[in-house]
């Protein structure tokens, strides 16, 4: 009975979103207040209904109702309770339901916090969000129904993919989706502005915190995914340029460009058309990411079942949303008024460079991700594009970005004498270079990358600090949350650079055959392998290794790398044993037992053990967390919540 209630709730949600998508948009066009006033209650109703459906599915998982096909396929009775909650978004149907829920959540939030905006704007924005909801809810109902029954019920379900039975996976998808879907808010505002034919700086000011928050969540989501890959996949890497990773990285890059371009448009009125285009692009790339991941068009470690019917549905939806908004852009954007003029040497120019670099990086990732498919379609053979391509071009594009980063905040809007920021930053540039040189000569290995990491990071950090100092030195000048957010995010980049480049340069990795009792030295550490014992988990059997880590003869820690064989599918999962520290991780993963395959006692013999020493690896995620925090703090700026002035600042009727 319960699953049918969920089903009905979903159908009602679709009907409500149809209402939300049509009446308010038509009302705004015709100036009918009564039609427009439908938007807000419809948004709340939709949220309530989708939430109800989501709760029903959750209850089905917790109660283990194996008569629901999706539950039977993604959980079984041995599954620990916590993972029964997260199994809800463990596979296609449920993760789409989560998508729909988060979309409904953002819609509800916009409806709630938009009371100071003009009615037409609210009606149009909620109408556009309603259109997106219509697409996703009908996709759910018509192709991916999570409530489909399996009658008669099975006695036992399959299992949740063991890769997903992990704490990191509990929060990764919701964070990622909060970010992905959050870009719907700037998108809806951009489309509303295009329909209206004008772009008011006040509405843009209202959108900025939403973009920042969405981008912050996306940053966290990607960082958690990367961290999970690091400890769960057992390869010791943290980023693989896998198509699915790329799918989340592209909206991130464009989102970062959007943050900066929105700031220009809001403060100076310039880049209006560009900001609108970026807002469309960020959300379109989120949709594209969903499409790539969910359709099985590209093959990746996230192998999801491919179903052409589903793929076709999202593709049509993608074509309508992206094609429609781009067409609207082409027709309407030329009407936007131009902003204040600016000189070649100005903050506007720097932010334009930032935008171009970030967008080029995104284009590069898009090309690399789609190239194998293109090659296949044109019959050029099976090609895979890997880290060499991405790594090289990404570094090439990001180097100027890091070099220009400290100049941005120190350069004035509109016109600046280039000598001024140069003079302010010159001593710090020299200091950064000196630090880089010191790193070059003291690095035990990979001197070039180490030097680049240290110098680049010092430059970004010192340049940002120089800006903070300038603000505090100046009399009576405030240090707003917006500036604090910027400072945090830019510091995050400095921290991230240390992590990414130093781990690349200083990583030590050994594949060692170890017999019980044997000790080996790797770098400054010694590892004593104390053997493997078989243990029983709730739904798996595990070979639990014991590795004593010593430094200078003193025990540091006892690590427990594991190989888990899950009861349901027999899938084997690696759990690395990690001793983490601020300055580096010691990472031990269990390979295969080395004894003969038919030796019943081989688990007690020698094992292949993979040992990594990863200096500064935590800084990667710490940096990402700082960037996300920067996004959140910026959103707190009171300026964004200020009561809109009644008199228009810069507006133009088209």
């Amino acid at each position: 009975m319960l699953p049918e209630i969920g089903q009905v709730a979903l159908v009602l949600a679709l009907l409500v979103s149809l209402l939300q998508a049509t009446l308010p948009l038509a009302g705004a066009q015709r100036g009918r207040t009564s039609w427009m006033s439908v938007a807000r209650p419809a948004a709340f109703a939709q949220l309530l209904l989708v939430l109800c459906a989501f709760l029903v599915l959750t209850v089905s998982f917790v109660m283990q109702d194996f008569s629901v096909r999706y539950v039977a396929e993604n959980s079984n009775s041995l599954l620990p309770v916590i993972y029964r909650y997260t199994a809800v978004w463990g596979s296609h149907e449920g993760s789409l339901l989560l998508w729909a829920l988060i979309l409904a959540g953002w819609t509800g939030a916009v409806a709630e916090f938009s009371r100071k905006l003009p009615d037409e704007v609210v009606a149009r924005v909620l109408g556009v969000m309603g259109l997106v909801s219509v697409g996703f809810l009908s996709f759910l109902i018509f192709t991916s129904n999570p409530f489909a029954r399996l009658l008669p019920a099975v006695a036992e379900g399959r299992d949740l993919n063991p890769l997903l039975q992990d704490p990191g996976m509990i929060i990764h998808p919701p964070m990622l989706y909060l970010g992905y879907v959050g870009f719907v808010v700037p998108f809806a505002f951009a489309v509303a502005a295009l329909i209206d034919g004008r772009m008011d700086a006040r509405w843009l000011r209202w959108t900025r915190p939403w973009t920042n928050v969405a981008w912050g969540f996306l940053t966290l989501g990607i960082a958690i995914g990367s961290w999970w890959a690091y400890y769960e996949l057992g390869w010791g890497g943290w980023w693989f340029w896998d198509p699915v990773e790329n799918a989340s990285f592209m909206p991130w890059l464009v989102g970062a460009a959007l943050l900066h371009s929105q700031a220009v448009t809001e403060k100076r009125g310039s880049f209006r058309g560009w900001t609108v285009l970026l807002a469309i692009a960020a959300f379109s790339l989120s949709l594209l990411g969903t499409f790539l991941v969910r359709s099985g068009v590209l093959t990746s470690v996230h192998a999801f079942a491919a179903d052409p019917a589903r793929g076709l549905f999202i593709l049509i939806f993608l074509a309508i949303v992206v094609g429609g908004s781009l067409l609207l852009y082409a027709l309407r954007a030329p009407r936007f008024e131009e902003g204040a003029p600016f000189a070649a040497s100005s903050r506007e120019t720097l932010l334009l460079a930032n935008n171009l670099l970030l967008v080029s990086a995104c284009g590069m990732v898009l090309l690399g991700t789609l190239y194998p498919l293109l090659a296949d379609a044109l019959d050029l053979g099976k090609i895979s594009v890997g880290p060499p391509y991405f790594g090289f071009l990404f570094v090439l594009l990001m180097t100027p970005l890091v070099l220009l980063l400290p100049f941005g905040p120190l350069t004035r809007w509109q016109r600046e004498q280039p000598s001024k920021p140069l003079a302010m930053l010159a001593p710090w540039a020299i200091l950064a270079l000196v630090l880089g040189a010191v790193a070059y000569f003291t690095a035990p290995q990979g001197p070039l990358k180490t030097a680049a990491g240290v110098a680049g990071s010092a430059w970004a950090l010192l340049g940002t600090a120089r800006f903070v100092w300038t603000r505090f030195k100046g009399n009576g000048r405030r240090f707003t949350p917006e500036m604090l957010g910027m400072t945090l995010a830019h510091t995050g980049i400095a921290v991230f650079l240390v992590g990414a480049l130093l781990v690349e340069a200083q990583n030590t990795q050994r594949e060692l055959p170890l017999a019980p009792g044997q000790t080996v030295e790797v770098g400054k550490y010694a590892f004593r392998f104390e053997g493997v014992e078989e243990t029983q988990g709730p739904n798996y059997v595990s070979d639990l290794g014991h590795v004593q880590v010593l430094r200078d003869g003193k025990p540091v820690t006892l690590l427990h790398p594991e190989k888990r064989a899950y009861a349901s599918g027999g899938q084997v999962m690696t759990e690395a044993g990690i001793h983490s520290g601020v300055f580096g991780d010691v990472y031990v993963a269990l390979g295969e037992p080395l004894g003969a395959a038919d030796d019943p006692d081989r688990a007690n013999g020698a094992w292949a053990v993979r040992v990594h020493i990863k200096p500064f690896v935590r800084w990667i995620w710490l940096g990402a967390a700082l960037m996300a925090l920067g996004g959140f703090v910026t959103a707190l700026d009171r300026r964004f919540r200020a009561k809109p002035v009644q008199a228009a600042t810069t507006e133009q009727r088209a």
């Binding site: 096909r69 396929e73 399996l150 099975v154 349901s568």
Partner: protein, 190 residues
């Protein structure tokens, strides 16, 4: 908008943008159309064209009776991997049953990682289309076959060469479009 070149330039931009966008959609459409192609990853079963692995497995209905790969030679057979724990197998079951009833070829069940009681109850409930059912409780022999999970279906010819493999539930289109023509071909060749 005063300069005459501005609208023309924007029109050229519009056309280029439209062409790029349509090209992109066409590429995605191609991707979607091919997303369920079995050779998408260019990794068809390495066993195809090679002899089926040797095995000796007990019968599900008679645990003491071992069946070896040699005993199955002589005529082609279809090996269908299933388990009572596998919801997808139930979807496939009626299709497979209809096909088995045509007596076109021997259909042998391969019960993977299952408790015998559960497996027998499952067959009792849904019917047993198989000529015989091999039981691979610990899934060890499945490794030699390169079986990822259930359902999977193999076609092995009279000489014990693996000719075809399908991962996932088979449907009528796959049976009529792939399996049966291949059988016809095999028989014509003999």
């Amino acid at each position: 908008m005063n300069a005459p070149s501005a609208p023309r330039r924007s029109r050229v931009g519009l056309v280029i943008g439209a062409v790029v966008f349509l090209g992109f959609l066409a590429l995605m459409f191609y991707g979607v159309q091919h997303s369920d192609r079995a050779d998408r990853e260019a990794l068809p079963s390495p066993l195809i064209g090679k002899p089926a692995p040797e095995f000796a497995l007990p019968l599900l209905h008679e645990a003491g009776h071992m069946v070896t790969s040699k005993e199955l030679l002589g005529t082609p057979y279809v090996l269908n991997v299933w388990g009572s724990w596998c919801p997808e197998c139930r979807v496939e079951h009626p299709v497979l049953t209809r096909f088995a009833l045509t007596k076109r070829v021997r259909v042998i069940g391969y019960n993977l990682k299952d408790e015998p009681e559960d497996a027998l109850r499952w067959l009792e409930q849904f019917g047993n289309p198989y000529m015989l059912v091999l039981a691979d409780r610990d899934g060890r022999a499945a490794i030699d076959w390169g079986i990822y999970g259930a359902p999977e279906t193999f076609l092995v010819d009279a000489r014990g060469i693996v000719r075809w493999k399908h991962v996932g539930a088979v449907d009528d289109a796959i049976i009529d479009g792939e399996l049966v023509p291949l059988l016809d071909q095999l028989e014509a060749g003999q």
